[in-house]
Every structure is written in structure tokens, then in C-alpha cells.
């Protein structure tokens, strides 16, 4: 039964772009690759395309399975036949963002100018740059206008940005567990994570590839910090509490509390496959995102260009991207006369709730998506 609801085995594709991409930082990417996956079929009117944008550690592999590794897409519970984002109706696209480490051009790729890995020389990329690159991929795929752009967390920022950068090219935006900009506290968490990487002796100014090493200790620490903020206090308490590995304190810095074991495991696992430079770049993209900045902080004015309809979703226990941040988006959209719906899902899992399949959450997504006219 479950297989019927999976898109099955999927194969990533690569699009090469030789036109330079101007970046918000003032820099230029002379040429670049984007790795992407698609699910479902583009209809004759080319009106059923949906772009799914990934968050900090996500990738183009949104749904289905990879043949060799068996790895399941990160949002497989949402995307597939009969799922809320139904691939029998929609043509769904996942793209690995620029600066990523899953095949799209990023710091771990060869810089054509030097013949060596980009490393720290890879230019700063922003949410807006990602959207520009995604728009070029849409051009390549013959998609003039997306039925919807969907994203959670940093992906939600891209969905919002799409409606501002290309107002005529997106009908609906689903902005989930996101924010119109980070708070000082959020930037602070990112900065601690970055410092952990930057201060790792094996970072080598970002050129660790040439030294044949990886700053795994810094990257693992960064992930540990991040992971704490993605879970709620209650969820962590319920899962681990104060459980002790040896049933009593043994007065050591080795793992004693189960939460320590869990965090170390998550950190080490992440450091084993993710790229430290990508982590640095991506957290900076989060920090810089602020569409109202050019409008003296007036989000309503910033949203004035938008033409899309919106669904905004938050989660009651998400303190990294709290419901109040989503409501800022909602009220600004409403005061810009945009059609917008907002739901705050009562879910105990914190920020990571957006990746789960809570029935109310997926019910609202399904209802909203079903009403999208093609």
C-alpha cells in the first residue's frame, strides 16, 4: 500500500548554465550547475508545475528513492501519488541550491578559473540568488508560471521571495515554519555554529579540501547547536528526559545523559556527509534574508509587488521560527490585500514539525493544494 504512494525510484538530473549569474553580493557566478529532480508530468498547458524549496540541510531529493543508496526524499510524506502534493496532478521539482553540497555548484566543486575546489572563494549566495537560479531552471524546463512554490523554514523564505522577485510567475506560495527575517537570537545561534566551524583547526580558511581534511569537529558542533533549536523543550524532555546511561552519575565527560549521546550521534552523522562551507554560506543566506530592508523595514510595502495567493503555516512549539513570526507575514500580506490563509498547528515536535505528517497539518495542506486551479 505504501509503495502506491511513493513516486518510486528517482534519478537526479543536472542542468548546466553558461550565462553568468549576477549575485546580490555584487559578485558573479560565471557558470554553474543545478542538480534537480522532478516527479509527475508537466501538462500540455505547462500550468501544473510546483517548486519545492529546501531548507538548511535539504537537497533536490524531495521524494521517492535513489536506486543505489535507497535514500528516501526528505519530504516524501508530502509529495507522491495520493499525497497532499499529489504527483498525479502536479509536476513537482526539487532543486539543490547554489552553494550546496549535493551536486549543484558549491564550495566543494572545482572553480573553473583555478582548477581547484572553490572552498572559501565560492561567492556568497542569498535567498534572492537561489530564486534567480531556480527561475533560470524553470525557463530551461519551459515553465513560465508555477502553480505553487512550497517551502519550509529557509525554503519558506524562498517561496515568499519568489512572489516578490517574480510576481507574475507564481500563483500560490506555501510558506511553512518560516519568518520574514531572522531575529537577533536566530542570528546568534547561526553565529555560534559558524564559529565552531571557523575555529576548527582543520578548516584551513575554507580550503580544507586541498589539505585532505574536513573540519568535522566544528561541523558536528554546529549541527548539535542547530539540532537543539529544531526540537522543543517538551519533545526533548519526553524523548530523553534526564535518562542516564549508567543509571547514576559517574562524574565523567563521556556520554552520561542520553541527550548527550543523541546530540553527538546527530552531529557526527551530519559531519560525515555535509560540507562545512555550505553550512557557513547557508546560515549567512538565512541571516541576510530581509525583504523589508530596502523598504525601511516596512514589510507591507515590500509585499506590495506580490500577486500570489498564500498559505502560511506555523507550529505551536516551534521557537526557532515561532508562530508570531509567521503571523508577521500573514498580517503584512493581509494588509497588502493578498489572499492569505494561516494555520498554527498544535504539534509537539518544534521546528522539525514541518517535516512530519501531523494529520491536521497535512489536512490543511491537502485542502489548500486541492483548491489550486490549473
Amino acid at each position: 500500500m505504501k509503495e502506491q504512494h511513493s513516486v518510486g525510484i528517482v534519478v537526479p538530473q543536472t542542468a548546466h548554465f553558461s550565462d553568468p549569474l549576477p549575485l546580490k553580493s555584487g559578485g558573479v557566478l560565471p557558470q554553474y550547475d543545478l542538480v534537480y529532480e522532478t516527479y509527475g508530468t508537466l501538462n500540455a498547458a505547462r500550468s501544473n508545475a510546483v517548486l519545492v524549496c529546501h531548507a538548511l540541510s535539504g537537497s533536490h531529493h524531495v521524494a521517492g528513492k535513489h536506486a543505489e543508496s535507497g535514500a528516501e526524499g526528505w519530504w516524501d510524506n508530502l509529495v507522491g501519488p495520493g499525497k497532499p502534493l499529489d504527483t498525479r496532478r502536479f509536476f513537482v521539482i526539487g532543486v539543490n541550491n547554489l552553494g550546496g553540497c549535493y551536486g549543484s555548484s558549491g564550495p566543494n566543486c572545482i572553480n573553473p578559473a583555478t582548477g581547484k575546489p572553490w572552498g572559501a572563494d565560492f561567492p556568497f549566495v542569498t535567498v534572492e540568488d537561489w530564486v534567480d537560479a531556480q527561475a533560470r531552471l524553470a525557463d530551461r524546463l519551459g515553465i513560465e508560471r508555477f502553480a505553487a512554490v512550497v517551502g519550509g523554514s529557509l525554503g519558506g523564505m524562498q517561496a515568499l521571495s519568489w512572489t516578490l522577485q517574480y510576481p507574475d510567475r507564481v500563483a500560490h506560495a506555501l510558506v511553512i515554519a518560516s519568518a520574514p527575517k531572522l531575529t537577533a537570537q536566530n542570528i546568534a545561534f547561526n553565529e555560534v555554529a559558524r564559529q565552531a566551524i571557523l575555529k576548527d583547526p582543520e578548516f584551513h580558511g575554507g580550503h580544507y579540501y586541498e589539505h585532505g581534511v574536513v573540519p568535522t569537529r566544528g561541523l558536528a558542533l554546529a549541527r548539535m547547536i542547530g539540532h537543539i533549536t529544531y526540537l522543543s523543550d517538551d519533545a526533548m524532555g519526553q524523548k530523553f528526559g534526564r535518562a542516564l546511561r549508567h543509571d547514576k552519575p559517574v562524574f565523567s565527560y563521556d556520554v552520561e545523559f542520553e541527550i548527550e549521546s543523541y546530540l553527538r550521534y546527530q552531529g557526527d552523522k551530519f559531519a560525515g556527509f555535509f560540507d562545512a562551507n555550505t553550512y557557513l554560506l547557508t546560515t549567512k543566506a538565512l541571516d541576510y534574508y530581509d525583504p523589508a530592508f530596502a523598504y525601511n523595514g516596512d514589510l507591507v510595502a515590500a509585499l506590495g509587488r506580490a500577486k500570489a495567493d498564500y498559505l502560511v503555516v506555523s507550529f505551536s512549539t516551534d521557537w526557532r521560527f515561532a508562530p508570531s513570526r509567521s503571523r508577521e507575514i500573514v498580517y503584512a500580506l493581509m494588509h497588502s490585500d493578498r489572499r492569505v490563509s494561516y494555520t498554527e498547528i498544535d504539534c509537539p515536535a518544534g521546528h522539525d514539525s514541518f517535516l512530519l505528517d501531523d494529520p491536521q497539518y497535512h489536512g490543511v495542506l491537502r485542502a489548500y493544494i486541492d483548491n489550486i486551479r490549473l
Binding site: 498559505l311 503571523r327 500573514v330 498580517y331 493581509m334 494588509h335 490585500d337 489572499r339 492569505v340 490563509s341 494561516y342 494555520t343 498554527e344 498544535d346 491536521q360 489536512g363 490543511v364 485542502a367 489548500y368 486541492d370 483548491n371
Partner: protein, 200 residues
């Protein structure tokens, strides 16, 4: 949607085409859907209950899931032409607060509520029981209603709060009641304004 409450027409008649409407306690969004069809309003509903939010999403209604007991802090002054609260005021704790908020964010407010002084309700009390009727379908132990008030009570509150009653219609079922509404009407609908602003 075939189902249509008789009070929908009254509300629609108080609204100009294309207005911005906020419906507090919008349920499944059927009133907003109706006003969209007959008045082409730009409508938003506020609803707390998850099931009803889901129903709104299915009905394609703009719904904002917040608890209006906490006020309407995110809504700008005077943004809406009409703020509606249909048969929900009797279930709100913060009666004065929400009326004030409705007239802050809206040019006018439209409020409807069951009249607890309706003669059948009085009869029920005389017979020794809390009223149960079409408009008060719950038993005393499971009713969501927490404020039990009458047309006369509401008139007094409006006077006390400086709220201008621009129009009032009272009904027994779908029949308009003009004489002795506090005795003969089961439901009342009010069009309210700020007494310091000119009549619209």
C-alpha cells in the same frame, strides 16, 4: 453551498460590493463564501477551532487561525469596512474588549446574537429549565455560551461604551419582529459604529 441562513441576506444588505470584510468566528467560512458570491468582498475569517479552519481551507476561504479572545493586535486601525461577529459574542469572555477591537479595525461592526429574553426562553425558565431551542441548541452543561444577555442588555452596553447603533433587526426564525423585540425576537442583528464618527 445550498444551505443559507436567513441572517446572511441582512448582513449582505449592509455591505457594499468589493468591501474588505473580517468575519470573527467564521466557522466553515460559509458566510464569507456567500458574501464573496453576492458582494465580491475581500473577505478574511478568524477561527480558532482546527476542524473549522480545515473546513475553511476546503471551502477556499481566507482563514486566519488565531484566538480572538487575545484581541486583534495584528490588525491595522480601520483596515476593514465591516467586521462581523455572527452568533459568537455570547461565547466570548472579553465582550467589551472584542467590541472595541471590532470598531478599531473596522469602520462598522455587524453583530448578531441569540436573545436570551425571547419569550420561549422565559417560558422555559418559568417552567424551571434553562432554554434549549434551535438558536440555543446546547444543554446547560455543554453549551459554549458563557454570556447570557438580551436585546435590552446589549442596547445598554452600547450606550455605556459609546457605541452607535446604526441599525437593528430582530427576528423570530426568519420573521422580522418590530414590536417588542426583546420579548418576541429570538435573534438580533446590529450594525454598529463609533459614536464619534459620522454615520456611514
Amino acid at each position: 453551498m445550498s444551505f443559507q441562513r436567513y441572517d446572511y441576506d441582512v448582513i449582505a444588505n449592509w455591505i457594499e460590493p468589493g468591501e474588505r470584510i473580517l468575519d470573527l468566528g467564521c466557522g466553515d467560512g460559509s458566510l464569507l463564501r456567500y458574501l464573496g458570491e453576492v458582494r465580491q468582498v475581500r473577505g478574511y475569517g478568524v477561527e480558532k477551532d482546527p476542524e473549522r479552519v480545515l473546513a475553511c481551507a476546503r471551502n477556499g476561504i481566507n482563514v486566519i487561525q488565531i484566538d480572538m479572545e487575545e484581541g486583534l493586535a495584528g490588525f491595522d486601525d480601520g483596515f476593514f469596512d465591516h467586521v462581523i461577529m455572527s452568533l459568537s459574542l455570547q461565547a466570548m469572555h472579553n465582550t467589551q474588549g472584542i467590541l472595541k477591537e471590532m470598531l478599531r479595525v473596522g469602520r462598522e461592526a455587524v453583530v448578531s446574537f441569540p436573545n436570551f429574553a425571547y419569550w420561549r426562553h422565559r417560558q422555559a425558565i418559568l417552567n424551571g429549565h434553562m432554554p434549549v431551542s434551535k438558536n440555543l441548541p446546547h444543554q446547560w452543561y455543554n453549551t459554549p455560551n458563557i454570556r447570557f444577555f438580551t436585546i435590552a442588555d446589549f442596547d445598554d452596553l452600547c450606550a455605556q461604551e459609546g457605541i452607535a447603533i446604526r441599525e437593528r433587526l430582530a427576528f423570530d426564525e426568519d420573521k422580522v419582529i418590530t414590536d417588542e423585540p426583546n420579548f418576541l425576537a429570538s435573534v438580533a442583528l446590529y450594525r454598529l459604529g463609533r459614536s464619534d464618527t459620522p454615520t456611514g
